[in-house]
């Protein structure tokens, strides 16, 4: 019944200093060290969570009232963010209340109960697997859920249900760093700690825009007291480039040539750390011969950076050694020769000895909150704990650690994401199960993937929201609880494992992914395999056993409680090390301080190959290069979550903006604010032109968050990492 508000006459005083409207905004001491908080959101307890958006892994202090979260503030005691957060973190709770949360399972567009949904799921999957074999069904995991859940998914699908193929959306963000590190260091081991941002004398950011994409990491850069040189390599004049002391606006995808050119100059100008190279690396002599061809004139011509500036760049690295750190993210990872580019960065760090020391390293900044967890525990490319499916000893070790019979562990790794899609297109994969990812929006050459998804016999989407582009195509949607509605651990970019608690009730009958996997195991009839996997913490213990004697050994962590008490723990922490563990002095640790790597000969490898041109080049018909990337700090990927916050809506442009250089605009007769068509070979869209010199002539930029942008992108993949190349597509712009 609607309540009719009683008309209240105003007070008969001349000025009302207080009253109900004033009371709405009253703040009072919040206790728990929070300072003043809004009275209507006064907490009776607090707890700490790890933010579930990006890989920075900020600590958030959750304000609880009767056990449920009412508000949050960044955790001042967490060693990552030191009391700050970006808007996504601040708004992490509000996006849980969106009206389009999935509340019930949805089968062919109709809400059904869990029993029906689970029976249908198992019947369909079993039918596909029985009829077409174990390669006919695949799962696609994510970097957005807790790793205990990822591990359950990977184990359930492969060991329980008998699938061979599974990959994750981390293929879109981190696959390159994985491939590069594995080959160069012998293990997927980002060596750094965030303290290195503060300890460097030279910071080189390649294809990274931390000001917008990782604002809290940028905070650490600004805390650097050494007045560092900040070098940005990016075709665009990003916010980070504006804040840098040197910006090299190279031609799109000329990064590999630039990096080899820098290596050439560093060798020429005597910047090689000979002792380190001799003791700790292999392949340097071949590398010297190889980069001899990258003389400055050639590099200047191919990158668009003058010889003089190239020399200055190289000199800055030489003079900053041994406190030079190299940081890269999607500008490198999402390239057609991404792994070699990442390795070219690693080579620079190795040859100058900028590794294993404070303020150094070849450092990949991760994307998603749990991309690093997925790298160790998703059971997709790697067997649990960074193991190899092909290695019989590894299979036996994991079987022993997990209690899964060894014969249930496949002896071959999965196909990569794009290969699974190709197989689906060819008809060998008939069913795909997507968990917490939205490829109908985010996958490259979107029309193509949507065409393929529509061919599937069975498409399942497990997500918080029933409104994602992918969920709308699904035969079955399983409603998932989101971050804050379940517990488990994330691993951030600096290898820090952090625990995040359950502080909210999920809407309707949405269930934590963990519960969903448990239920599926039961309905499938394989719950006996997962007898010990009864809670996230129990799975955490299983996974610890899997990491024993691996570079990522975490057997020394004493459960979730230790993670919470010590502000997260960076891997590795073996049982032996845990005896020496001190919260205060072990807050920030880096790898390779002893100059020993994880390769069989304990030496890092120089890996290189001749650059090749980007697959889709400019033509008369499509004369502009389209670069895609992050729009604002308030936008996250396909915006299934960030799109739900009214405050964050204030922080992003109201419509899709195309960054266009004024010189190109003049040629095209386009004025600022005009609506233009952006056309590639694959599709076209309409955007509002923003004339700006942040993009060079001949280049345009679109943020990836608009669901149409990936209709334009050209699908090509790095041959080593199979990561899609989002940063180089040919387009034209018309009025």
């Amino acid at each position: 019944m609607m309540k009719i508000p009683a008309i209240k006459l105003p007070a008969m005083t001349l000025r009302e200093w207080d009253g109900p409207l004033t009371a709405d905004l009253v703040r009072e001491p919040g206790k728990f060290g929070l300072g003043q908080v809004p009275s209507h959101l006064l907490p009776d307890a607090t707890t700490t969570a790890i933010c579930g958006f990006c890989s920075t892994g900020c600590g958030l202090k959750i304000h609880l009232k009767d056990g449920a979260a009412v508000n949050l503030t960044p955790d001042p005691d967490y060693p990552v963010n030191l009391g700050t957060a970006c808007p996504k973190g601040w708004e992490a709770l509000s996006v849980l209340d969106a009206p389009d949360r999935a509340r019930m399972p949805i089968l062919h567009g109709k809400e059904v109960d869990w029993d029906t949904a689970l029976r249908y799921f198992c019947d369909q999957m079993r039918a596909v697997l029985d009829k077409h074999g174990p390669e006919a069904a695949a799962y696609l995991s994510t970097g957005q859920i807790m790793f205990e859940e990822m591990a359950y998914l990977g184990a359930l699908a492969k060991f329980g249900m008998g699938m061979i193929h599974g990959d994750g959306n981390t293929r879109q963000c981190m696959a390159t760093a994985v491939a590069a590190y594995k080959e160069s260091f012998g293990f997927d081991a980002p060596p750094f700690s965030y303290a290195d941002f503060e300890e460097s004398e030279v910071l080189v950011f390649i294809g990274a825009n931390p000001c917008i994409a990782h604002p809290i990491m940028w905070q650490r850069v600004l805390r650097n007291k050494r007045q560092p040189e900040i070098i940005v390599v990016d075709p665009r004049t990003t916010e980070t480039a504006m804040a840098a002391t040197q910006h090299y606006a190279i031609k799109p995808k000329s990064d590999l040539t630039l990096l080899y050119g820098l290596a050439h100059l560093i060798i020429r100008d005597g910047g090689v750390a000979t002792a380190f190279v001799e003791e700790s690396t292999t392949g340097f002599d071949e590398f010297v011969l190889f980069v001899a061809a990258f003389h400055p004139q050639r590099v200047a011509e191919e990158t668009g950076i003058s010889v003089h500036r190239l020399v200055h760049f190289a000199q800055t690295i030489i003079s900053g050694t041994p406190r030079v750190s190299f940081w890269w993210t999607m500008g490198v990872n999402q390239g057609h020769e991404a792994t070699r580019t990442a390795q070219a960065i690693i080579n620079l760090a190795l040859m100058t000895g900028n590794i294993g020391k404070p303020g150094s390293g070849a450092n990949s900044i991760t994307g998603q909150c749990n991309a690093m967890g997925s790298r160790l525990f998703s059971n997709t490319t790697n067997l649990l704990g960074g193991h190899d499916f092909r290695n019989p000893r590894h299979r036996e070790k994991v079987a022993a650690a997990t209690g899964i019979p060894v014969e249930r562990i496949p002896d071959r790794p999965s196909l990569a994401y794009d290969q699974i899609l190709k197989a689906a297109d060819e008809g060998t994969v008939k069913a795909i199960w997507f968990v917490a990812t939205n490829p109908s929006h985010s996958w490259i050459d979107q029309n193509e993937i949507n065409r393929i998804l529509d061919k599937l016999d069975f498409l399942v989407v497990q997500d918080m929201y029933c409104s994602t582009e992918t969920a709308k195509r699904a035969h079955l949607v399983l409603p998932a609880a989101g971050w804050g509605e379940k517990e488990g651990c994330f691993i951030n970019s600096e290898r820090r494992i952090g625990y995040s608690p359950k502080v909210r009730r999920a809407p309707g009958q949405a269930l934590a992914d963990f519960h969903i996997f448990r239920l599926i195991a039961h309905y499938w009839g394989c719950e006996d395999l997962f007898r010990g996997w009864s809670s996230p913490e129990a799975v955490f213990r299983v996974l610890q056993r899997c990491t024993e004697d691996q570079p990522c050994d975490i057997t020394g962590i004493d459960g979730h409680e230790m993670l919470r008490k010590s502000g997260g723990v960076q891997w590795p922490l073996s049982r032996v090390e845990s005896l020496k563990f001190e919260v205060s002095s072990w807050k920030e640790r880096r790898l390779f301080e002893d100059g020993k790597f994880f390769t069989p000969d304990q030496r890092a490898k120089f890996i290189f190959s001749e650059p090749v041109a980007a697959p889709e080049r400019r033509s008369d018909e499509y004369p502009l290069i389209l670069i895609t990337g992050r729009g604002t700090s308030a936008q996250w990927h396909t915006e299934t979550r960030t799109g739900k916050s009214a405050v964050m809506a204030k922080m992003r442009p109201e419509e899709l903006m195309l960054d266009l250089n004024p010189q190109d605009a003049e040629r095209l007769g386009v004025r600022d604010g005009m609506h233009v068509r952006v056309i590639s070979k694959r599709a076209e869209l309409t955007a509002k032109a923003r004339l700006t010199t942040t993009v060079s002539p001949g280049e345009v930029f679109l943020p990836m968050h608009d669901s149409r942008v990936n209709q334009l992108t050209h699908a090509s993949y790095d041959p080593q990492s199979r990561q899609p190349s989002y940063k180089h597509s040919a387009v034209r712009v018309e009025k």
């Binding site: 908080v37 700050t84 604010g673």
Partner: protein, 538 residues
Amino acid sequence: MIYDLEDPITGSGSAVGGIISQRSKIIDEALREQQTLRTPVALFSDEYDARSVRERFTHLIPLSKPVPGEQYAFEVNLDACTGCKACVAACHSLNGLDDGESWRDMGLLVGTRKQPYLQTVTTACHHCADPACAEGCPVLAYDKDAVTGIVRHLDDQCIGCSYCILKCPYEVPKFNLKRGIVRKCDMCQGRLAEGEAPACVQSCPNEAIKIKVVKLDAVPDRGSIIAGAFDSSYTRPTTTYVSSQPVPTAARPADAGRLDLDPGHHDPLAWMLVLTQMSAGGFIGCAIAMWMNWLTLTQAALTSAAALAVGLAGVALSTLHLGQPLKAWRAFLGWRKSWLSREIMAFSALPAGGQAIFATWWLGNMEWMKLAVTGTAAAAVVAVWCSVMVYVDTRRPFWSLKNVAVKFLGTLLLLGAALCTAVWSWAGLEVATGAMAFTLLCRWSLSVWEISKYRLALEDESCTWHKSARIMQKHLGVQIEMRALLLIATGLLIPVLIAAGANAHWMLSLSLLLLFGSQLMERLHFFTASAGTKMPGN
């Protein structure tokens, strides 16, 4: 503990019924567990942390309170602001604001082709030394704190007239539709009083926002606080933007080129202005005719009754735009400074004038009635002049004294004459013809003036209201064409039809209606194309 580590899901039963009941049991268990939250006494709640907010931000707020002649002010270090917008989100969260409400905004300055530049600009209330919001408020709902200089809004005093939104050149006060009042930044004065930093200061990862004590004498009264901001001479904003590199002269707000209609709900005001101006004109017409002895007592009563009815309708409609109309009785409080307060008081003379006119008519005293009508007309003209000043006082370029005065007084003459013409025509008075001629003269002169000024403003980029003209061209083209058709109808077609023998009573009434419609459209544009100034946006 919620998960029972010792009790995993039990093995599957053999009977079908057993399976079903067991399945529903484990689903129920999962759903129940999902809805269970740990209580605060459980393992995972912290009771206390070592470093309180008060200790963490002492270096970002002043150590002592301002002394007389000083006040608190925001200082923004542009070099440290990288556009993460945490301050916007934190203001919302730490102050418990409504959905989408935040008192901080983030904008962007951009350079030119020759001088590339990119700078994000965070902006909140500037807690001006001479706050225009406070000056304009008719009910004194703003208080500039004598010690801190913080410009505080008294939410329970506010009548939701939104005049402060028009007055503030930085777009700071925001209307809260749910509550029917304006709300704004109070520099988290309660936090500062306790030695805590404001929400935005606390939230900035790079410590770009600080609170400083500034000397009031030193608050600039010229220039602008940052590229694209309004001239500081108007309100003397106290925020300072500091940077190691000066902002390039060519830098401009990223949204400088945007031509958006003002989204405010000003329709009741447009109706009020046109109706009250028609009313004032009607009273003037009536008074002149009475002094010229053209009207009988009854005819004068009819004319002034028509003017009064229109005027009262206008005043009544104006209350529709108030969020808290019941509190409007305090509108006299701001009369010393607020033109809106004065306007409201002047228009409240209308009912009194009406009573006087009615009384003199009742008594049948023509001389006294002349004085009553003249007095009412004078009060109405004063009120219309206050209306003019209400808008001129906002310093919006489109609302220059000349623009507003010609529009408002022109409308007064035009619609006043048209009203008299219609009434007198129905009363069968000869003088209606003269009034009609005067209406025509007003119509054509006002329209010619308007059109020529609009054209000029559109062509001349240096014209102060060039932007408003472009907004009209972009968004209001159809309406402008409709007004041209109305001009033809009222200025040419109807007079010709009357000359050709059409029914003058009806034709003149129709003409009045169409003229009113045309002026109403003009007045709606007056608001929607007013192009208020603001801090740099996106």
